[in-house]
């Protein structure tokens, strides 16, 4: 905790140490989970439960987000499309940005806000109410029983939701292009399919899996390392959302650079 006497150097040092603690903690968690993957040691029913509540229950919010994202992109592009008469490029422009960048990032941020925050709150509450300790005393490994199913569910379901969101975003873009700019859906889909490569789609999906891992690790790490009772749960959720968003953008930058 920072004190009034601390100078800028001390505060910077403390912040760096805190960052290192969190990044290191998440890395250690990842390593411990990896150990439980060979051979796989996880609770099957818990995995299915998490796949359902994290994936299926996220469909409405992701769908709405994706539809509006596609529409907004067409509105933004409308000015240029009209000025240059480049209606044939609408499908390519919308598809390229949606599949490679906007779709995975926006869906990941929505997923982080809904599922990641919920995961942190749940784990943090279980930690402060000693439910995690109770699992251990019942000879149950919390990482295998609780965390691994959640991490796998988040990675898998964010990937699936990104595919689902991409499709809806493109449908939204096609509809808005027709309604707002008069670009026929045939023109839109032709422009899209002619210009977009499979690699563009794959790039976005690889990113979504990475984002899923970032959200899962950060939300689980903050949930398990909470201290300070009920106020601590609030702080953990806040820190988890911020860390997830930061991690998503850092990962996006690195992945974009590497996957060019």
């Amino acid at each position: 905790m920072a004190t009034e006497e601390e100078g800028p150097a001390a505060q910077t040092g403390r912040a760096v140490l805190s960052l290192a603690t969190d990044v290191g903690g998440a890395a250690v968690l990842a390593a411990r989970l990896a150990r439980r993957m060979v051979p796989p040691r996880l609770d099957g029913p818990e995995l299915w439960r998490n796949l359902y509540r994290m994936g299926v229950r996220s469909l409405p919010i992701v769908g709405v987000t994706a539809l509006f994202t596609g529409g907004i992109m067409v509105i933004q592009a409308g000015v240029l499309i009209r000025r240059f008469g480049a209606e044939g490029l609408l499908g390519w422009g919308a598809g390229f940005t949606t599949l490679r960048e906007v779709g995975p990032i926006l869906i990941a941020l929505m997923f982080s806000g809904r599922v990641g925050a919920n995961n942190t709150a749940e784990l943090a509450t279980m930690t402060v109410t000693e439910q995690i300790d109770a699992l251990e005393t019942l000879a149950i490994d919390p990482l295998s029983y609780l965390i691994l199913p959640r991490v796998l569910s988040m990675v898998v379901m964010l990937f699936v939701l990104t595919v689902y969101g991409d499709v809806l975003a493109l449908l939204g873009a096609a509809f808005m292009g027709d309604a707002l700019l008069g670009v026929s859906t045939a023109t839109f889909w032709n422009g899209l399919l002619d210009a977009i490569r499979v690699w563009d789609l794959a790039t976005g999906l690889i990113k979504s899996a990475l984002f899923g891992g970032v959200i899962a690790l950060s939300s689980s790490h903050y949930g398990l390392s909470v201290s300070g009772g009920a106020p601590g749960v609030g702080r953990a959720v806040n820190a988890s959302v911020v860390a997830s968003a930061t991690g998503i953008f850092v990962c996006d930058y690195l992945a974009t650079y590497i996957l060019q």
Binding site: T129, E130, D133, E136, T137, L138
Partner: protein, 361 residues
Amino acid sequence: MEPAKRHSVASEQRWTQTVPSAAVSVLMHTPWSGQSALVVQATVQSPICRPVSRLLKSTHRGVTSAQADDAWQEPYAVSLRALHAARGTNTRSHRRDMGEDRCGGYTDAPRHGIVRSMIEVTNVWKRFAAPVLRDVTLRVPQGCLYGLIGPGAAGKSVLLKCLAGLLRPERGSVRVFGEAIESLDEVSLQAVRNRVGMLFQNNALFDHLTVAENIAFPLRRRGVTDEAEIAERVADRLRAVSLPGFEQRLPGGLSGGQKKRVGVARATVTRADVVLYDEPAAGLDPVTSQKIFDLLRREQQEAGATVVMVSSDIDRLLTVTDRVGMMLDGALIFDGTTAEAQGSLHPVVKQFVHGEVDGPL
């Protein structure tokens, strides 16, 4: 020669240089059993006893550290056990009826190390920001209900978590069933935990499970698959804590006292050998508190379990305990029978046990 055999022969050669030959011959030519252990106890009378018991552990597969440590027991314990065995009086109920003790041994047993300790804490240190356990040494004999008292932040709950293997001490040793908890890997630790039940201060009921599922949880995780048996045992536990018909309720819909009782039901459903209770009656009204303490005592006696109980409700706690330890600032400042605690002249213990306002606390 195989490496294992070479090691075994080398160990035996070392014994023959240090241990009386009669004992060695028994150890070398009979399989490990209670009888051979008695011979060792009766014949090996030197400071080398401890190394011998450790060698036994290291060279004989299947000999647990607890059995090896039994070889360290004092010889007159052997004669007492043999006497009781011959008379058919070596049963817990008989000893209890005879008023010999309520700790699974003899009245002065823990002091002389006769009764095998289910829990042994030796010179344990633990710190977080500041030291929370300081050089704690404690023995809890088999079948004993041990009360741990002390003011807030004295280290009671931390010690309980060390016993459950949830925290590892920085120094010292915590042995449960003779196994050194701090040095066990996860798999071995889980085997120990399968024999331990625990009630947490916050009850630690799983919010997403119903009352019945919470109570059945330890049974299912221990491989009980017969649904009829699970339902029967859950119903039995709920009757024991006066909550029949609560099977399908969720923990969120229960009062504090009801949650506590469900926690007790879950902690006792497996009839664990060692049960740890952290504030089992916190937040309960006096009548319910006394019912809970009576229930825990009855459960402990029926199951023959070894129990360590932390409670701030001193008056009621002392009605059920066999032995009492008092902690202050991370140190165990008193360890004795309940009667000794009530009659203690130690100023801190006296003030705390009798709830006096004036005193060092």
